[in-house]
Amino acid sequence: MTFLNGILLWGTAAVSIPVLIHLFNKNRYRTLQWGAMHLLDTTNKVQKRRLRLENWFLMLLRMMIPLLLAACLAQPQILGTKSAWNWVIVAVFAGLALAAIIALTRSRAPVVAWLFCIAIFALPGWVIWQLATFDGKGRFQWGDRELSVALVMDDSYSLEYEDASGKPFDKGRKLALQLVGELRKGSDVQVIRMPGGPMYSKPRTILDNVADDLKEMKAGYGMADPPEAFRSVANLMAPGKMAHGQREVVVVTDFQKVSWGSNRVAALNETLKDMRMGQNPPRVTLLRAGKGEKDNLAVMSLEYPRLPLAPKQELQVRAVLQNFSKKDRQDLPVTFRVDGQPTGPRGSVAELGKGQKDVAVTGQGEPFKHSFEKPGTHVVEIVADQDKLRADNSYLASIKVWDNVPVLVVDGEPSKESLAGRIDFKGESDFLRIALQPFREVKYPGMTDLFDVRVVAAEDYDADAAKDAHVVVMANVPRLTEGKGGQLEALTDYVKQGGGVLWFMGDQVDVDWYNQHLVPMGLIPAPLKEVRNREGEPTPYATVDSSRPFEHAALEMFTGRSTITSEIHQWMTLVEQPDDPPYSEMARLSTGDLYLVERRMDDGRVLLCTTTCDEEWLQGILREYYVPLMQQLVVYLASSVAPERNLSSGQPVVAHFPPEEVGQEAVLAYYRPEEVDALTVKLQGRAGEKHHLKIAANGARGTVRFEDTQRPGLYVLRRPDNTVEHYVVNTDRAESDLTPLEESEIEKLAEDLDVQVVDSLEDYKGAENDRASVLDIWKWLLWSVLILCLGELILQQWMTREKA
């Protein structure tokens, strides 16, 4: 015997409740001065015995009710295993029954008492007898008893391959619908999407609804992950999750090699082994949907610079194509589309051997190019071959075109010229300004800068000055004014609301003030220690340690390509916290001291550079690293408030809104990759799958979050102000390799996993007859409890009756 919900067996402890109540009441008596004492004496022996019997019987009934109820809730299942314990239970019960018979005889109980006794003990007796004698065998027919079924549906986009016989997914769905249709009423079903996870929060028993949901179900999801799906199944088979003892796991899949290959078998086996450790493991059947070879060509990825773009800046895109067919392909046409419309010259791939990858370029051998006129998000797409699997014929990307990014530089040591907008290299921020808006400063024709820099003196900084700025740079600022409406409060609010601050050190910085006021607020990543230098040493300066790759997103471009090469003569050291630091280090100096540190604070971020942003503490600032480094740091801070738009499947769509839009509604529409056109990118034309999302307050701004992004494609968000933003979800293109497992491989898989593989419903049903059967007895126990409750009620009424 096993229990689906064994933990509830602790409820059998409730058997002591009637005894405790009895003892409690017995000790909570009242005293009554009474006259008719002689009527209280039971002089008659039979009467005395019957009275005692009735009391014992009532107590027994009361103890059996919680006992059987707990056993019922624990959902016991008789597996047909022979165990001596079963006979012990039978013996105990038989002993009880015998004791009841003897007691009834001795007390000369009336016939009605015998009948009552039989009625009460018959059902538990039958259940216990079953426990001892059930052999676990029995002809099993799908639909002849209630089952708990986990239906794993492969809904990866490879099942969307459409040939003359239709889509494999539709075939699989048909089989699944038939299985569900023939289930006995009362069965419960959970549908597990692979990928996508369980369809319902808990198994469903209304089979018509499950069938309707299956009919509505769509494929086109990312890569199938059988081990993950089986983990969901194992979780579902845990005690208390499904209702019935007889459990079936049916996996409808196309046996794609990438999903079911030998690399996955080990993980699968582990999960199955864990699942089979339980006393009542389910039977697992793999049902094949769709057979045969399939040709496919897929756009595997897009390559484009991840730096933010300004209007009229040129975007260069390359696409990588792969041929998954068994034959070579020539002259493959490639189209570049921007916002759903073909743009620029068509490209092609001259020759692509089987299994080969190549980069698609235009006829001139160049990448696809486009410059955007307007800021905002745009969808770029490379479309290749129109083959039978449409989902991977194109690859999408969402490109954010920035308008000017306003940057406020707070200069702690400004010159008059720099405050007037001119550069004399005497101000602290002059180099920084050139680095952030090089075209404007050198008056380069036809080029626009991404950043719009405004410099203010430290004393002029306030909330108003930073109102529009995406990033505030604090360059050698001595201190901020405190108190209500002061600079410190303005900066704190600014960061809390999602702003970014970049600190540069310098000789003006008041270390004590910084530590006292900025550290507690989290406005600088770590406390400042002291200014250090290497005077008198053989190398009187430090450099940035580039021996290890830079892992931080803002510094990625410096790994292996160029290094940060200044000679740093002075720098600020920080008080480091080796264990669980609140900051993350980005780069260190050759001396081991920190160079760049980051810390998150609420929605905002702060970065700290331990040296100056001019040549005061370092030499060689005009080397090639400076401009990209400064731009990267500021871009990083500016973009950190803008959520990621190119997502992998399952990663949520997150969008931020101004606080006044909290409570309003944003609309998110999903389009499959092949549905993307000039209208759908504007949320016009084809309707798409629309989701209405309420903007929730999140700190000082509004946020929406949409989790159900398993399906690759375009997600268009319409904001309350009717502007649209584009999010793209791409999935691992390994799924595009449609090569199925060989027959021999499938056999080996079945053997390794100890599961059966069938091709049709008939095969599946043919294999049903020999399986072990399980006896679910919770219903019988529930009936027993009800009968016992009724018995208890009758007995109590009978005992307190007025005897004529």
């Binding site: 009554l32 006259g35 004492m37 009527l39 307190t800 007025e802």
Partner: protein, 300 residues
């Protein structure tokens, strides 16, 4: 000083006042009243003719009948006389029981006794009272004079329930003291040895007394309505107690009770004792009135 109104509410008084208490049997008496005497003698109300036997007074021979039939018949007249009643008030400990919100059985019995005494004295009948537990506590012989009621009421007030009961024994000892045949009214719960009690009732009957047993019980004793665990402590013997779960004990109790009741009923019927079950939650004047009416019908 006790007054009748201490025991009888005005309403009860008026309802009882006009009832005619008629004894079932005619008893001997000294004062001519509305009760008929079985002693035939000189009177105004003719009863019957009887054949002359030696010893009859010559003046009672009905000469007119002799003239018609040539036989000697004497005239017999019914004589009206008093009822001589004795109230036996059980003052044992068990009479001290009173359920929640009710008077105890003893108080009830006292009120009933007061009502009876008042009624009887109103009719110029003589009434006496005996209160007892294991032994006789107080004896007030039957009288019908003024002030007797007050004396009896004072005695009733003075009596309080206590001690054990032994009805049989007490009744045996009382029977010889009751004098001439009369009406004995027992006000008791009848708890104790039932066979002994029945024997004692038979003793009264053998002395030609008419016996009415007002069997006074508290509803709790009839229904046993308790639910919580209870320690029943004896009212008669403080050291005696039983701790029981009344719910499971109820059936057994009621079985015992019905057996006791049945035994008493059959015993009374056998001895021609009028058994009147009374419950302390019943207004006793009504119960009494109902009973008296019944007796009237029997007497008529």
């Amino acid at each position: 000083m006790a007054h009748i109104t201490d025991y009888l509410k005005p309403g009860e008084l008026t309802s009882i006042k006009y009832l005619q208490v008629l004894a079932k049997q005619v008893v001997e008496g000294f004062i001519t009243g509305i009760h008929r005497s079985p002693q035939k003698g000189v009177s105004i109300e003719f009863a019957q003719h009887r054949e002359y036997v030696q010893g009859d007074e010559i003046r009672r021979v009905d000469w007119k009948v002799y003239a018609k039939s040539d036989r000697y018949y004497v005239r017999e007249y019914e004589e009206e006389t008093n009822l001589r009643a004795t109230l036996l008030l059980d003052s044992s400990g068990s009479m001290g029981y009173g359920g929640e919100g009710r008077i105890n059985k003893h108080t009830y019995a006292v009120r009933l006794a007061a009502a009876l005494a008042y009624l009887l004295l109103q009719q110029r009948d003589s009434v006496g009272m005996i209160s007892f537990d294991t032994k006789l506590r107080q004896y007030i012989p039957p009288r019908s004079n003024d002030g007797h009621l007050r004396r009896m009421l004072e005695a009733m007030v003075a009596s309080a329930p206590g001690n054990e009961t032994s009805l049989g024994q007490v009744f045996h000892s009382l029977a010889p003291r009751m004098g001439r045949r009369g009406l004995v009214m027992i006000l008791s719960d009848g708890f104790g040895e039932t066979p002994e009690l029945l024997k004692a009732l038979a003793h009264f009957r053998s002395a030609m007394h008419e016996v009415i047993f007002f069997h006074i019980l508290d509803p709790d004793e009839v229904e046993f309505p308790f639910r919580d665990w209870t320690r029943f402590q004896s009212l008669e013997n403080g050291s005696q107690f039983r701790k029981v779960d009344p719910l499971s004990y109820r059936a057994a109790y009621l079985e015992n009770f019905h057996r006791f009741e049945e035994e008493l009923r059959l015993g009374c019927r056998k001895n021609r004792v009028e058994l009147v079950p009374m419950r302390t939650d019943e207004p006793f004047d009504k119960a009494l009135a109902g009973y008296m009416n019944r007796r009237n019908r029997v007497a008529a």
